[in-house]
């Protein structure tokens, strides 16, 4: 067991600030790496010290393993916290830490590498008896299609191999319809793309993205902290996350949490991690998607309902301590929702909107948590992702949390840049969201449906 007394935080933005705050409470000294664009950022002001590691482009600063290691050794840090993104899931930084005697606050390099390999990760899931979504297969004729469809189970999706834009796409709900659909889809594919070859895959009409927060300590303990529901996404970017998921009943929850623990236990996983699943709501069936070997953007919703500080726990486990809690200690109360506030313009096709924040009046309240590095006068640099922060609201029930979130978003005043707050408000106020009639395609479908076709005359 080692004591961490000085940590180098190799990240920026709200997560850097989050780690700094945790360190203050634990009395750990913080050194922040900054690019030239982030010298005046709030985390830079809040850290005990900051070190400039290069120009604004992340390839020349936040992604440079050698520079970060040199900075850590130079300032005498005994650990590195990678945050999320950047080098958090690159085994190189974890490996270099091991080589130079630094503690990497995260999983072991080999686990990052293994779980980052999709084929390996899927194999681990299969070995532990967890279903994976059967992959797409190129099919040549009807006989092959029927065979493969029987294997994967209905409904199946037929799509043009050369495809795109929905042409030559057919959903087949039962075997009786396969022949007609197959002929139509290949004819359509031929006429649209001059190529009649089709892919066939299992189709999930009503999919939820459900992920399980885990913690392993390398002392044989792997504990889950229940699920998060991150079904509201746009182009695979999560926008709203909540915990618990109202799509799960206690039985299903128990089942999926146990499956996730099994995967992590199988590889003796250490530190914070998340196992992501696709939940087929109609069939009540889970499919393993992937494992994320880091602290995640949406970790606060889990913290809010379980009362466990995940970032502090990361430090404890990294220092070699066993987990500070056992599975039986982990319970949840209430419901938490997180909205990611991005500097982008929803009216303008979510175009990033960097620039100077003129006004930043954040809502406050007992049930409101704001993880953000922004302040009035802060200039959002154009070099990085557009996350301005996360607003997390906790209520005693889901409907109360939605109501509180809607009210909090209304009070959030930001000017100078565009944000997606109006878009979040529309989601919170939408009956589909309130009644849980959503899935992973809901945002895109709704955007397409509500797109206004302009006329000129």
């Amino acid at each position: 067991m080692t004591r961490i007394s000085r940590v180098l935080i190799a990240n920026r933005g709200e997560i850097a600030l989050r780690v700094i705050r945790a360190c203050r409470e634990m009395d750990i000294e913080t050194v922040l790496t900054v690019s030239e664009a982030d010298r005046l950022s709030l985390p830079a002001q809040m850290a005990d010290r900051s070190v400039c590691i290069g120009p604004p482009l992340s390839s020349q600063s936040y992604l440079k393993v050698d520079t970060i290691i040199a900075a850590a050794i130079g300032v005498g840090a005994d650990a590195i916290h990678p945050g999320y993104g950047f080098l958090a899931e690159q085994p190189e930084l974890a490996k270099a830490c091991a080589k130079y005697g630094l503690i990497f606050i995260g999983p072991r390099a080999e686990h990052i590498k293994q779980m980052g390999d999709k084929i390996f990760a899927r194999q681990v899931a299969v070995d532990t008896g967890i279903s994976i979504i059967p992959g797409s297969q190129l099919i040549g004729d009807y006989r092959q299609a029927a065979e493969f469809a029987d294997q994967t189970g209905y409904p199946v999706l037929l799509k043009a191999a050369a495809g795109g834009g929905g042409k030559g796409m057919k959903i087949v709900k039962n075997p009786a319809d396969l022949r007609v659909a197959f002929n139509e889809a290949s004819a359509e594919a031929r006429s649209a793309f001059g190529d009649e070859r089709l892919y066939l895959e299992h189709y999930i009409e009503n999919a939820r993205h459900v992920e399980i927060q885990l913690f392993g300590d390398g002392h044989g303990n792997v504990v889950h902290l229940f699920e998060r529901d991150c079904s509201l996404q746009r182009r695979y970017q999560k926008l709203v996350e909540e915990a618990p998921s109202e799509a799960l009943d206690p039985g299903l929850r128990e089942k999926v949490c146990r499956a996730a623990v099994k995967i992590a236990a199988q590889i003796e996983y250490q530190n914070a991690g998340t196992v992501e699943f696709i939940f087929d709501r109609d069939q009540e069936q889970f499919y393993f998607l992937e494992m994320n070997t880091r602290i995640q953007v949406e970790h606060p919703v889990t913290e809010q309902i379980t009362g466990i500080d995940l970032v502090k726990e990361q430090f404890g486990v990294a220092a070699g301590n066993p987990l500070s809690f056992e599975q039986k200690d982990v319970n949840f109360v209430g419901h938490a929702i997180e909205c990611r506030i991005n500097a982008e313009s929803p009216e303008n096709n979510f175009l990033p909107s960097p620039g100077k924040i003129e006004q930043w009046i954040a809502p406050e309240g007992d049930n409101i948590r704001l993880d953000s590095h922004c302040f009035p006068g802060y200039v959002v640099p154009p070099f990085y992702d557009s996350l301005l922060g996360k607003i997390i609201v906790t209520g005693s029930s889901r409907s109360e949390a939605i109501e509180e979130m809607s009210a909090a978003l209304r009070r959030f005043q930001i000017s100078g840049i565009h944000t997606n707050i109006p878009f979040h408000r529309q989601i919170m106020d939408h009956p589909d969201y309130q009644t849980g009639e959503i899935n992973t395609r809901w945002i895109e479908n709704r955007l397409a449906k509500e797109h206004h076709f302009h006329e000129d005359d």
Binding site: G164, G165, H452, F453, H454, E455, D456
Partner: protein
């Protein structure tokens, strides 16, 4: 000197150009009485997309909007717009529907119709124009301005002669929907058209897309135009029309007379500035000169559509390529004017051509129907190779022998399975998606209450009394002081 007339199109083209057609009836009603006495020859209310926007986004019954506004503006004729045989859609609708539509417009209070065909194929309009005249509606037929080797002054002279002969409209207009006119061309075009319309009034409708419309409008008056289309300043400029404020002032400075009541106009503009701020909607800003607009000729609304179509496939970066492709298709398709529906049909074809990597490998139903002449005769012949290629597509084959169904209103009523609904409801059900119509009918009467933006103190009181999150409020500014105390229950008192 001559008195110049104005048609206000704030309620029609102003918010269509700047607010994606999202102005609510409630935004209009508080100042309707001022608009009625502001001295406009006519107020344009309904375009083609307004019916759809009312049903789809606002859940306001469009016919009810017409009735509310006609009642609120008793002394000014209200206008609407129909697009050839498509009426309000991109498809071709049965003749019976067009006739009933026009009759219902008249019955609900519309006094003026702009009936247009962007191909200038007047056969498309003959029936509509005669139906409108019979219903007592004043008809204005536009010449739609475009830039191409076929759209010469001679072309417009010939089309004007044919129009007068075939349609005999009450007034003629020059419609520059894309904002492509220059002052020089205005001079020759207006002079040419003027020669062939007898004593009929000539109207000018020009969008500010390239910043030149205010100049073109003034030039057109100098060449004999009688009426100009304008918007209230908050909804003028940008891709919209010149503002009434400046147009009125500029023409008076040149010695023309007008009937405009400046005080009324100021109050109306104050109101719309307030609506814009309250709803988070943009104000029109004068556009800068844009030379590329004259090359691609794609109107602003369609650029937004193209960006959306490309973004759905993650290919926003290929817009330039699509715009280039549009100019090639236009030439091959006999130079249709790039306004709805042709801007959409040509634009979608360009996206298909660019994204599929092979030109005309595939098309849309509307694309096939256009080249097959279902929308009318194009200004110039269609390239024969392109026509052959498109006839090979499934859509081409489907429409090669297609005949437009012409069900009667009785047939449509029977088909709808609702024998008791009104003609107004029947038309909505025939032309628009069921779910939007249902939602609108369920929404009940249109909300018409809204604070008056030209009376800030009154608006403040209305807004404050409607709020329930305080019991005491004091507002002070210079010599103005307002105190609102909320007593028990919902009773409110104002000192």
């Amino acid at each position: 000197m001559k008195t110049i007339k104005f048609i206000d199109t704030t309620l029609r083209d102003g918010h269509q150009s700047l607010w994606a057609t999202r102005m609510r009836t409630a935004h209009m009603v508080p100042i309707a009485h001022l608009l009625d006495k502001a001295g406009f020859q006519s107020v344009e209310l309904m375009g083609t997309v307004h019916f759809d926007a009312c049903l789809r986004y606002l859940h306001e019954d469009p016919w009810e909007r017409i009735r509310i506004l006609c009642e609120a503006l008793p002394s000014t004729p209200l206008g609407a717009l129909i697009r050839s045989k498509s009426l309000t859609s991109f498809n071709i609708v049965p003749d019976s529907v067009i006739s009933l539509w026009i009759e219902r417009c008249a019955a609900n209070g519309i006094k003026r119709l702009m009936i247009f065909d962007a191909l200038h194929d007047w056969n498309n309009l003959a029936k509509s124009v005669s139906t409108a005249k019979k219903a007592g509606i004043e008809v204005s037929v536009p010449l739609v301005y475009s830039l191409s080797p076929v759209h010469t002054d001679e072309f417009y002279a010939q089309k004007t002669q044919e129009m007068i002969q075939k349609l005999d409209p009450h007034t003629v207009m020059i419609k520059d929907s894309i904002g492509l006119l220059t002052p020089e061309r205005t001079k020759t075009l207006v002079t040419t058209v003027k020669k062939h319309i007898g004593g009929r009034p000539l109207e000018m409708h020009s969008h500010c897309t390239t910043g030149l419309a205010p100049l073109c409008c003034i030039e057109s008056v100098e060449c004999g135009v009688d009426t100009i289309y304008t918007c209230m300043s908050p909804l003028a400029n940008g891709p919209s029309h010149p503002s009434i404020e400046k147009m009125n002032m500029n023409l008076k400075r040149l010695g023309y007379e007008t009937d405009i009541d400046d005080a009324a106009v100021t109050a109306i503009s104050d109101h719309f500035r307030y609506v814009a701020e309250r709803e988070g909607l943009p104000l029109g800003v004068p556009a800068e000169y844009d030379a590329f607009q004259y090359i691609h000729q794609v109107p602003g609304g369609m650029i937004t559509n193209l960006t959306f179509m490309l973004s759905q496939r993650g290919m926003e970066d290929r817009l330039e390529e699509v715009l280039d492709e549009i100019s090639v298709i236009r030439e091959e398709w006999g130079y249709p004017v790039m306004i709805t529906p042709f801007s959409q049909i040509v634009g979608t074809q360009a996206v298909l051509n660019v994204l599929s990597g092979e030109r005309y490998r595939t098309t849309t139903a509307e694309g096939a129907r256009y080249v097959l002449g279902h929308y009318g005769t194009p200004p110039a012949p269609i390239n024969q190779n392109v026509l052959d290629k498109l006839c090979e597509t499934p859509e081409g084959r489907r429409f090669l022998t297609y005949e437009q169904p012409q069900p009667s209103i009785q047939d449509l009523r029977k088909e709808s399975g609702r024998s008791k609904i009104s003609d107004d409801e029947l038309l909505l059900r025939v032309l628009f998606p069921e779910e939007h119509v249902e939602k609108t009918l369920q929404a009940g009467p249109i909300e018409t209450r809204y604070p008056r933006g030209d009376k800030p103190a009154m608006a403040l009181i209305q807004e404050l009394t409607a709020r329930e999150d305080f019991t005491y409020c004091n507002v002070q500014k210079n010599n103005f002081s307002l105190t609102i105390k909320k007593h028990t229950g919902s009773r409110k008192a104002i000192d």
